[in-house]
């Protein structure tokens, strides 16, 4: 009989720590340990990784045994999470070739699309203000080496 998991939030958090710890152990397995007198590259990472696995294990067990918050309690904000992430990616990919104006407008529009509350006319005005501030402050003011427009 499968008992219902009592605290899926703790369980997930614990599993996350264990997974990261194991990854660190596997990736770092060949890092030299050195001697007692000269501890090598791998000593502290190994100690920390095992500690992480240990504490993650305890949290996982706690999640299995003790009633706690569920993983799906509250709202998972998929739309803002995806859109904000995409907005960051868009800025990173566009800024060098597309220049500041294009990368700003695209990334801010993607971010604004993350919430149903966005009013697009208001956003249009706001983004013009932001672009003016951005160009004036960062390119003219601080002299950052970014193109204003793609054709500059």
């Amino acid at each position: 009989m499968i008992r219902r998991i009592k605290g899926s939030q703790d369980l997930t958090a614990g599993a996350m720590f264990v997974a990261i710890g194991l990854l660190a152990i596997v990736v770092g397995r060949d890092y030299p340990l050195g001697s007692w007198q000269r501890p090598g590259t791998g000593v502290l990472p190994m100690i920390l990784a095992w500690c992480l696995v240990g504490i993650g294990g305890v949290i996982t067990i706690k999640g299995l045994l003790i009633r706690g918050a569920g993983l799906l309690d509250g709202v998972w904000a998929w739309r803002p999470v995806i859109m904000v992430t995409l907005a960051g990616l868009a800025f990173a990919l566009l800024v060098n070739d597309g220049g500041l104006v294009v990368s700003m407008v695209v990334s801010m529009a993607i971010c604004a699309a993350g919430t149903p509350e966005t009013r697009w006319r208001e956003f249009a005005i706001f983004s013009v203000i932001m672009v003016v501030i951005g160009v004036a402050l960062f390119i003219k003011g601080l002299g950052m080496p970014i193109k204003v427009f793609p054709w500059n």
Binding site: L48, R67, P80, V81, T115
Partner: protein, 502 residues
């Protein structure tokens, strides 16, 4: 220490802090901090993270003075919204809401705001002097530390941070370990070996502090806030009669004094800081009051005590950062990040190597507090209007400042990719109820701990007992062990009971 030394140090500090450039940065920091503090959903850590890259363009003194200004400005701003619209702008002003908003509803918003400002200012003055008096002897002590002592002190600091962190202690542990691991990514300075860089050349120098905090605190906060459509009822009672009555001043005097002492003490503890101080001060005032039932219904002591305490704590938490180079909370980690951007290694040597910076920063705290009390009260109308900016626009602006800020550090588009990734990670932490602050402390202290551990082992010729043989080191470790035992034992017992009941 001689009294004349104190005056010499402080006058050096004031000569730095009062130079026109630094007054300007102090003012900018305090104003920006207040503006952001007023906005709910953007904490002081996120604000400092957002502005960290701009400090790259300032001289080191100006940079740190501005960062410090943001911090205490944010606290003033947080109390303003707490009193006026029943919404704590910062977590340290959560308790101010209880009685401050009630006072505002009774038409005494002016008195509440004034008392909170006066209390904060008084606490700020005292805390500045405490820092000036305590810092030099502490630095001297710190310079006598052997590497093993330092190592154990960091362990103690991390344990404090875990114990006093919000939420689950176990998860705080996990976050500290994870933060330390992240801090070790990149080239091992001792041996030149690469660690956990996965062949990505941008990771050879380690994970950048700025992309990490921007992602965890900036991007993740946008994601979390965009879902919760917060209500902002602008019940703003007209702020009339800013001057508190003589009666108000008389009842507030002792609470302000007690709050200052309590906050000043709690601020020094690692992991403590303003939030803990304001809560403790409120509890203390309620316990001491002749008629505790007035609390929650507009008792002025409930505003005066916590407000003085959180400001005192905010400032004394600079002491371990300045003298030992050990950050006691996320804000101090941010200050250390600011120092490192300018190539200053935090630690006891800062006071001797850069006395202008050290004392200038301390003096600027007083200057900043004075500016805040003079500027803030007349500007309350403006702050309240700032609340009208809807989050749907704010989030767009924050996103842009995150991206451009990270890009500006090294003109590297790849680092902007990192903040997107750390943003996702930060949101996951938020949903899993894992506080990111301990991770940040681990990130800063991990590499330092390794350096001192290696030195200690080298000096002891590979004898790990050195950590237990040196009295100072041993006492730090014992203290850390005791703290853990005190906190963990009841937890385990309780957990067992719960498990058995089930």
């Amino acid at each position: 220490m001689e009294l004349s030394d104190l005056f010499a140090n402080l006058s050096l500090g004031f000569s730095v802090a009062l130079s026109p450039g630094n007054v300007f940065w102090c003012l900018t920091g305090a104003l920006v901090g207040t503006a952001i503090g007023v906005l709910p959903g953007v904490g002081p850590v996120a604000t400092m993270a957002l502005l960290l890259p701009t400090t790259y363009y300032l001289p080191p003194e100006g940079a740190l003075i501005m960062l410090a200004g943001i911090y205490y400005g944010a606290q003033y701003g947080g109390s303003t919204t707490a009193i006026l619209i029943n919404l704590p702008g910062e977590s340290s002003s959560v308790v101010t809401v209880l009685d401050g908003y009630q006072m505002a509803k009774q038409g005494r918003a002016g008195a509440a705001l004034a008392i909170s400002a006066i209390g904060s200012f008084f606490a700020g003055c005292v805390a500045t002097i405490v820092i000036a008096v305590a810092a030099p002897p502490l630095t001297l002590v710190a310079q006598k530390f052997a590497p093993a002592d330092y190592c154990s002190l960091m362990v103690l600091g991390l344990v404090f941070a875990i114990v006093l962190a919000r939420g689950s202690i176990l998860k705080a542990f996990g976050m500290v370990f994870l933060g330390m691991l992240l801090g070790l990514v990149g080239t091992d300075v001792n041996t030149g070996n690469l660690r956990y860089s996965f062949g990505i050349s941008d990771l050879f120098d380690g994970i950048g502090f700025v992309p990490l905090v921007m992602g965890l605190f900036g991007m993740a906060e946008i994601m979390a806030n965009m879902t919760s459509t917060e209500r902002r009822d602008l019940v703003t009672a007209k702020v009339t009669g800013l001057m508190p009555t003589r009666e108000d001043l008389k009842t507030s005097a002792m609470p302000i004094l007690r709050g200052t002492v309590l906050g000043g003490f709690l601020g020094i503890l690692p992991g403590g800081g303003a939030v803990l101080a304001s809560f403790s001060a409120y509890t203390l005032e309620k316990k001491l009051a002749k008629d505790p039932s007035r609390f929650g219904h507009g008792a002025i002591e409930g505003v005066a005590g916590p407000e003085a305490a959180n400001n005192a704590a905010a400032q004394t938490s600079f002491i371990p950062m300045l003298t030992l180079g050990i950050p006691s909370n996320a804000v101090m980690a941010m200050m250390i990040g600011g120092m490192m951007i300018h190539g200053i290694v935090p630690g006891p040597q800062v006071m001797q190597e850069r006395p202008g910076l050290f004392w200038g920063m301390i003096a600027s705290m007083w200057v900043g507090n004075l500016m805040l009390i003079v500027l803030n009260l007349p500007m309350i109308g403006l702050w309240v209007r700032m609340l009208m900016v809807p989050y749907r626009l704010l989030s767009v602006a924050i996103l842009f400042f995150c991206c451009i800020g990270v890009y500006s550090l090294n003109n590297s588009a790849n680092e902007v990719l990192f903040i997107a990734a750390f943003g996702l990670l930060g949101y996951l932490f938020f949903k899993l109820d894992c506080e990111p602050a301990p991770l940040l402390l681990g990130f800063i202290l991990g590499p330092l701990l390794e350096v001192y551990m290696r030195r200690a082992m080298l000096l002891s010729r590979g004898d790990a007992m050195v950590f237990l043989e040196r009295p100072l080191s041993l006492s730090f470790l014992v203290l850390a062990g005791l703290l853990l035992a005190i906190v963990l034992l009841p937890n385990i017992r309780k957990a067992r009971e719960v498990a058995f009941v089930e």
